[in-house]
Amino acid sequence: MPPEEKVRELLQGFPEATIAACLGFRQTGSVQDLDRAVAGIIQHHLRTPPKEPVASMPDSEPLLTGLGLDSLTIVEMVFLFEDLFAAELPHEEYSKLVTLGELRALLRAKTGAVAA
């Protein structure tokens, strides 16, 4: 992951808790911190506040029909994930994502996150 200043620059305007989760993942590399960071980033991109925090949503939650994301917003987030986690997320892979769980799994795999 990039240095802390770069993380803060990329996440300008995001809630401090999300920034902290990203910085936490930077230190621990743990799945738990990654999931928290990803949930915070997704939540920040939602047009309307979700019915419950994204972090506590089940893996089965659909990205489009459930969370209300659109394809452009997903691309916007993918670029941010790539910069934050120094990972490459090819279009062929992220364009097939349907659920929150699939996104979580893809990012865990790409970042090499480990269970704490």
Binding site: Q12, G13, F14, H45, L72, T73, V75, E76, F79
Partner: protein, 426 residues
């Protein structure tokens, strides 16, 4: 047998984000005091460029390519999913539009009515587009910002404001360079007068950036005078080019009955307009000003008025030698023969030249002048160009109602527009 009463188009809401103020009250104060908004400005930090001043946008900071770093007055609240797709001038446009809507006491449901349209103009955002395209090339085509098109191309205001306000009646953009928002206002008047729409929100906005503004130095159109107090001096013999500015202006053009039924203020009536084309050059105006004369004549004829009725001309004059001379000749041809001698001034001396938003901003100034009874003076005029012989260029703001104003605008390619704004009378 008499037909239905003709519909009259009035301006019932105003919004400003400009170099001389970020709301109508501040703008009016500056116009009355002839206080300019021009400051030292570094187009490329660290470089000693020959152009050293600009009409800076007050109360906003949209200098970053990242919208999350932008700053704006606390009275506004713009959601992230709106800001992510707008360029710097989109932020200004949203704020100016919110002001005009609030001023006109217009509800969100009125905006979403099929009777409400949106006409806009801007040059797009070369600044943001540069960053987006650089990224595209640097990543060998792998990275193209998902909102890179809609946030940068000419039309970005249509897309963004139309969606944000839920406009259903009409959304249309105008591209005639520095006459763009004059065209937008003219056609807005027509839409209202013809009964196709009850109201049109007209918004003009521009970035103030190296890319949008300093690029005019390539054609030596910008002033190299480093003094903010005299760099923009339309009609003065010492002028050497225009001073760039950005920001936004919004006017609600509305059927008079609809405005009054809601208790909205009526600043002025748009009584007519005219347009013409020089057919002469891609950039400069025809030297004798004949194109602009034709636009002014057509404007007055459409309003059922004559040259002696005009109390004030808000000139296009940008402080370039060729442009100011052409307009001065046009004004002499228009008013000289019949003995009419309206006051003439270019408020660009105070603001700088706002390109496609200039006409909307200056028409807004004219609305304030007609509603509150004043004629903006010609600031920064020391020695008038001999071509101005016979023109009445008041050095100070005059506390008197001009009654009828001609608002002139000219753009690249010889596009001319003249709007007739009249003091509202039942």
């Amino acid at each position: 047998m008499s037909g239905p009463r003709p519909r009259r188009a009035v301006v019932s809401g105003l919004g400003f984000v400009t170099s001389i103020g970020a709301d109508a009250a501040a703008v009016e104060e500056s116009l009355l005091a002839l206080r300019h908004g021009i400051e030292p400005f570094q187009f490329i930090p660290g470089c000693d460029l020959p152009v050293k001043v600009a009409g800076t946008v007050k109360g906003f900071d949209a200098s970053s390519r990242n919208y999350a770093a932008w700053k704006w007055p606390a009275r506004y609240s713009f959601p992230r999913d709106v800001l992510r797709a707008v360029p710097p001038h989109g932020l200004y446009a949203l704020a100016a539009a919110e002001q005009a809507i609030e001023d006109a006491r217009l509800g969100r449901e009125d905006l979403r009515s099929e009777a409400t349209g949106l006409f806009t103009a801007s040059a797009g955002s070369p600044f943001l587009q540069r960053h987006v395209l650089n990224q595209l090339h640097e990543t060998e085509g792998r990275r193209m910002a998902p909102f890179g098109i809609v946030s940068t191309i000419s039309g970005t205001l249509n897309f963004n404001l139309g969606a944000y306000f839920g406009i259903k009646g009409a959304v249309c953009g105008f591209v005639s360079a520095c006459a763009s928002t004059a065209h937008a206002l003219g056609y807005a008047m027509d839409e209202v007068a013809l009964g196709r729409l009850d109201r049109v929100l007209v918004v003009g906005a521009e970035d103030l950036t190296t890319d949008s503004t300093y690029s005019f130095h390539g054609m030596h159109a910008l002033s190299c005078n480093p003094d903010p107090g005299s760099a923009s001096r339309p009609f003065d013999v010492g002028r050497d080019g225009f001073v760039g500015t950005g920001g936004a202006a919004a006017l609600l053009v509305e059927d008079a009955d609809a405005a009054r039924s809601r208790g909205a203020p009526v600043y002025a009536e748009i009584a007519g307009w005219g347009q013409s084309a020089d057919g002469f050059d891609i950039a400069g105006p025809i030297p004798d000003g004949s194109g602009l004369v034709l636009a002014m004549r057509r404007a007055l004829r459409s309003a059922g008025l004559g040259a002696p009725d005009v109390g004030y001309v808000n000139a296009h004059a940008t402080s370039t030698v060729a442009g100011d001379r052409s307009e001065a000749r046009a004004l002499r041809a228009m008013f000289g023969a019949g003995g009419a001698r309206p006051a003439v001034s270019s408020t660009k001396a105070l603001t700088g030249h706002a390109l496609s938003m200039a006409s909307a901003m200056e028409a807004g100034f004219c609305c304030l002048a007609l509603a509150h009874g004043f004629i903006p003076g010609q600031a920064h005029l020391s020695v008038a160009d001999p071509e101005c012989e016979g023109l009445f260029l008041p050095r100070e703001t005059v506390r008197s109602n001009p009654g009828v104003i001609l608002k002139n605008s000219s753009g690249f390619g010889g596009s001319n527009v003249s709007l007739v704004l009249r003091q509202w009378e039942e």
